[in-house]
Amino acid sequence: MIRIEPRNAPSRLMTTGIPVLSAVVALALAAIPLAFAGAPIGPAYVQMFRGVFGSMFAFSEMLTRATPLIFTGLAAALAFRARLWNIGAEGQLYLGAMAAVAIGTGVLDVPGIVLLPMIIILGAAAGAAGMAVPALLKTRFGADEVVTTLLLNFIILIFLQMMLEGPLKDPMGLGWPQSAPILDQGMLPTLMTRMRVHSGLILALVVAAIAQFMLVRSVWGFRLRAVGENAAAARHAGISVNRSLFSVAIISGGLAGLAGVSEVAGLKGYLTADLSPGFGYTGIVVAMLAGLSPAGVVLAALFIASVFVGADSMSRAMGVSSYLADLVVAMSLLCVLIGGFFARYRITRTARAAQ
């Protein structure tokens, strides 16, 4: 007879070891689709590794890719801690990006020291507003935020197309649906010459450090974790559950908005409807790999970004579909979920006779 028993407390080794193991297993499982595509497996892995660590430029590309994932990973991690299922980071990212180009492309011609903070604050506010709506629908009407945030992603994307063909459209853009470029002084400065990695990465790291501190050390963080672990008990202890949920919703949406700001004002310079290849959804995988810890989000984002950049390089070299990267990311999520089970439970065999 097989029994599933909860462990008393997952050990430290398990909470850190399991995500690492899951990532390794997911990466190893990539051999199956590689074989299916007929690629030589060993050289493919070597090419993936070189694609990230082969040159300074490759490495900087990985850091560039990790930047938005840190923001969206934090957005998911904080919300999920309170069991608020914000699946709308993709839409909130675009709201942040739209706010950034709305004020950054010439409406306000002020020095960078004024313009850049305004872009960042308004971008975060736009993302926050995007998550405030489903949070209100949840606390006021009991509407499930999973469905509302998912559907809002589609609504916001269509709204974006409307803006890019209307008010935000670049008059000099030769008819393409794209915004005007952000003014030079409104751009996040790059960190290294001839590389694309920009100071959005520094912002992401600072924000991750603040989030880690707030979650573990502040009263706000304590309330949030209490609500996530047992909402009924938290309410009984005098915590306003709705207020906690709403505050984390605002912060989660704001973080996703910052991802959009960072991409548009740090990397691209102007806004198109394909700014994000699903950073919002990938942020969920990052958060789960990180065990919902803000510090872990940084490491998980670096891993996922490596998978994307490495697989891209390998795809170009070997003619394997670049959807391989998405496949590895999805498999790491499933692996870390299964790993989480073994961290929390142990499977024991008891002889039937003993019963």
């Binding site: 699946i87 009407f141 269509i158 394997v320 498999m331």
Partner: protein, 314 residues
């Protein structure tokens, strides 16, 4: 106003409504089966993609249209089984597992499609299901064109409404399935397998979802496109709540949705000059959110929905 009335009275409008509703009928029924047993299946969006791709690819490879339907159902069942194993015996977060299955099923489908057809600029086409021509029935006034000149997959969807309703309400299996979503302990006390019932319901429900995807590539269109599912799965999750987990109401919800979508396409041609087209494109998603908000207060959730159950632990 007269224009709208004219639209609402036309056969082509109601035929279009049912056509748009067909994939949603499959999806809502599938989601309903899963949730009735206590398991939320957010894998639906990816399972739609998998059904659309697998069914189409099978037909393209020469399996025949019904062979394609079978392959789609099997693909859906496969991804459903992954979700079922993660959420039922392992009792993991249904939200996260479902999203994981969506990401997995989507990326597997895209990867296989790209690997099978590496260098195509325009997607290859198949010969899709044709409109039916049933003696007498298809020639009936109004009802003929609206219902009986649809494709066989629409007939299958309507038939599945009856099947799901019958199984849930008129069979012992259905009673057990509803009980396992409300009170798994009582089912276990009767000596029935909670795990077996839940896994079975999720696999069967996922197969139905995949048929919704297959309808897109094998009946509504004749090719597979990236991003063609476009949130239909999520809309089904909203419609299940709107339908308060009843097959009849699920059909009604899908039809209302289809009618609204057909109406907005027609209105777009009328007032398109004054209102940006995107306003109409947003409408289905806005409508789903409104339906959810309206239904949420009185929603009669299966009581054990989202609650994992472990054998031997009370």
């Amino acid at each position: 106003m007269m224009d709208i009335l004219q639209i609402l009275l036309s056969e082509s409008f109601w035929a279009a409504s049912l056509r748009i509703a067909t994939p949603l009928i499959f999806g809502v029924l599938g989601a309903l089966l899963c949730e009735k047993s206590g398991v939320l299946n957010l894998g639906i969006e990816g399972i739609f993609v998998a059904g659309a791709m697998a069914g189409w690819l099978a037909v393209w490879a020469g399996a025949g249209l019904w062979g394609g339907v079978l392959v789609a159902a099997l693909a859906g069942g496969f991804f459903g089984l992954i979700h079922a194993i993660l959420t039922v015996p392992l009792g993991l977060s249904q939200h996260v597992s479902g999203l994981g299955v969506t990401l997995f099923a989507t990326s597997v489908s895209y990867f296989i499609y790209r690997t099978a057809l590496p260098n195509v600029s325009s997607p290859p086409r198949i010969e899709p299901f044709r409109a039916l021509d049933i003696p007498i029935l298809s020639d009936l006034p109004f009802v003929g064109p609206v219902i009986f000149q649809q494709t066989a997959m629409t007939m299958l969807a309507l038939f599945m409404v009856l099947v799901v309703w019958y199984v849930l309400n008129r069979t012992a299996l259905g009673v057990a399935l509803q009980a396992v979503g409300d009170n798994p302990d009582s089912v276990d006390a009767q000596g029935l397998s909670v795990y077996g019932l839940r896994i079975g319901a999720v696999v069967a429900g996922s197969s139905l979802m995949a048929l919704g995807g297959a309808f897109l590539t094998m009946s509504a269109f004749d090719a597979f496109f990236f991003g063609m599912v476009n949130g239909r799965g999520w809309i089904c999750i909203a419609l299940v709540i709107f339908a308060s987990w009843r097959p009849g109401k699920a059909l009604l919800g899908a039809l209302l949705f289809g009618a609204f979508d057909a109406l907005q396409v027609r209105l777009q041609t009328e007032v398109g000059a004054f209102v940006p087209g995107q306003v109409f494109l947003m409408a289905p998603y806005v409508l789903s959110i409104i339906a959810l908000v309206v239904a949420a207060r009185k929603a009669d959730y299966p009581r054990a929905l989202l609650h994992p159950w472990f054998k031997g632990q009370r």
